[in-house]
Amino acid sequence: MINFRSIKAIYIFEMSRTFRTLIQSLISPILSTVLYFIVFGTAIGNNINFTNEIPYGAFIVPGLVILTISMQSVNNASFGIFFPKFLGTTYEILSAPISYVEIVIGYVGASATKSFCLGLLILMTSTFFVDLDIKFPILMLCMLLLSCVSFSLLGFIIGIVSDNFEQINFVPMIIITPLVFLGGSFYTIDVLPDLWQTITLFNPIFYLVSGFRYSFFGTGEVNILISIFSISLFILLCIIIIWKIFKTGYKIKT
């Protein structure tokens, strides 16, 4: 039987951290996004016209949302589990009558919730700068949720395997940020030279951004089903890694 009370305890505990660090959790990412809109959307964007009748300011909204929620999901989930490790409080989680699945639901659920809310806030903020008409709102919400969950799972893995703060920051800064920037968040890949177009096809974020953009404008660079398949595959991969980590106790149990 699922121990809902324990999941709720972890979930609420993690959510309460957001309210203690409101500036870092919400205001800072929103401010960054606003700056992106001002610089790329308004200042430079008016001179860009490769986006097939979609105003450039609106074109970059899905990419900006993915950029922010990917970073935040990874940060939230990795810090959520790394902090108890750092503080030495994992003993309490490990000695509680709670399964590994329930632990993951608690931490990843809280991280995904925070990122999901942040994604919605960014969308709301974007309406102050661009006219946004979302073609498939339900699909958009589903894609947003799947993205939050997938990056939170990745963050959870990073939090477990990391031994220090430098390693925690390494993956978001050195891997995810470049992948998001090079995954078509601010451009369509057909503006790239052939070689870079081919390289981009190996970037998983490209499929995510494309799928997310499809839910906004009804058009993406790859088929929406390929995007959904890619995200599902990524989630499955993360779940297998987490399962393996808990099964072996890697970096959790001695």
């Binding site: 009370r5 503080l87 003993y91 989680i93 009558p97 149990k253 001695t254």
Partner: protein, 307 residues
């Protein structure tokens, strides 16, 4: 006596094949305070970690209230509370929140009345809204105990509860532990302070190099293992022990005025009468005789030396 924890053939090895626990067999009885006494690195914390699920078991069985800690881990863990050696906290959390979190983490419904009584019992009620980092070391240790007791466990593990704590606070902690035992909680205490084990425990298990060397009631242990020394004060200087007294393995004191004789008080024949008769024959004049009993510390050192 009702067994609350049953450990059979427990073995724990680490990845580098280092053996942390070797064939540990131990029964812990309901309502007792048992001290796991051993030097640093003996395997005390590993044993606790194995019981509580913090580290994995290599082989063997552990049951808590009849529930296997691997197969029935949910039921087994509900019965256990653990106070770690380190003061580990989310530093910016309020006392009341962290205690409530622990209760809910263990699947228990919120119970304001119980938590209030618990915090009052541990003199924490007036600190309930303070953030943990503002508390003193002693208060933090109490918060850890409150967290461990928040889900009403039957068994409480205290891992070196007074390590690095000043004398006054240590005595305070001992009172708290005694009161917890009175309220029906079984307590497993790891310590390397012999004084602590001697004062607190009903039974003592001596552990070294991952093995339990012996386990017995504290009083039995002292009676069984202890030695007494008969100190014979004489009025003359003794430079050499007379041949006739050679079989008694006597020692001469530093000031050369006393003879010392070790004997086991539990044996039927201690040899004291014969010794005193033999001394009388040698013409040594006695002024006084006195006995001195070895304490747990000397017994402990002796056990480790023989391991």
């Amino acid at each position: 006596m009702q067994t609350i924890i049953e450990i059979k053939n427990l073995r724990k090895t680490y990845k580098d094949n280092k053996v942390a626990l070797e064939n540990v067999n131990l029964n812990i009885f309901k309502g007792e305070i048992i001290a796991l006494l051993g030097p640093n690195g003996a395997g005390k914390t590993t044993l606790i970690s194995n019981i509580c699920g913090i580290s994995s078991i290599t082989s063997g069985d552990i049951k808590v209230k009849g529930f296997d800690v691997v197969d029935d881990y949910r039921e087994a863990r509900k019965c256990i509370g653990i106070v770690p050696q380190e003061l580990s906290f989310e530093p910016f959390e309020k006392v009341i929140n962290t205690v409530n979190f622990s209760r809910q983490l263990f699947g228990k419904k919120s119970d304001e009345k119980y938590i209030e009584n618990l915090l009052k019992k541990l003199s924490l009620w007036d600190k309930k809204d303070q953030i943990i980092r503002s508390l003193s070391g002693g208060m933090k240790r109490r918060v850890l105990i409150a967290k461990a007791l928040s889900h009403e466990p039957d068994v409480l593990f205290l891992d070196e509860p007074t390590a690095g704590v000043d004398v006054e606070l240590r005595k305070d902690m001992w009172n708290t532990i005694k009161n917890l035992q009175k309220s029906g909680v079984t307590i497993i205490l790891t310590t390397h302070y012999i004084e602590e084990a001697e004062l607190m425990a009903n039974r003592i298990a001596v552990i070294n190099n991952g093995k339990i060397l012996l386990i017995d009631k504290k009083d039995n242990l002292i009676d069984r293992m202890s030695k007494k020394t008969l100190i014979i004060h004489t009025n003359s200087k003794i430079n050499k022990i007379d041949k006739a007294l050679g079989k008694f393995k006597l020692r001469i004191s530093k000031d050369k005025k006393n003879l010392e004789y070790d004997y086991s008080p539990n044996k039927k024949k201690t040899g004291i009468t014969t010794l005193l008769n033999e001394i009388k024959k040698t013409g040594i004049e006695l002024i006084d005789v006195q006995t001195k009993q070895s304490n747990l510390e000397q017994i402990f050192v002796e056990i480790l030396k023989n391991d």
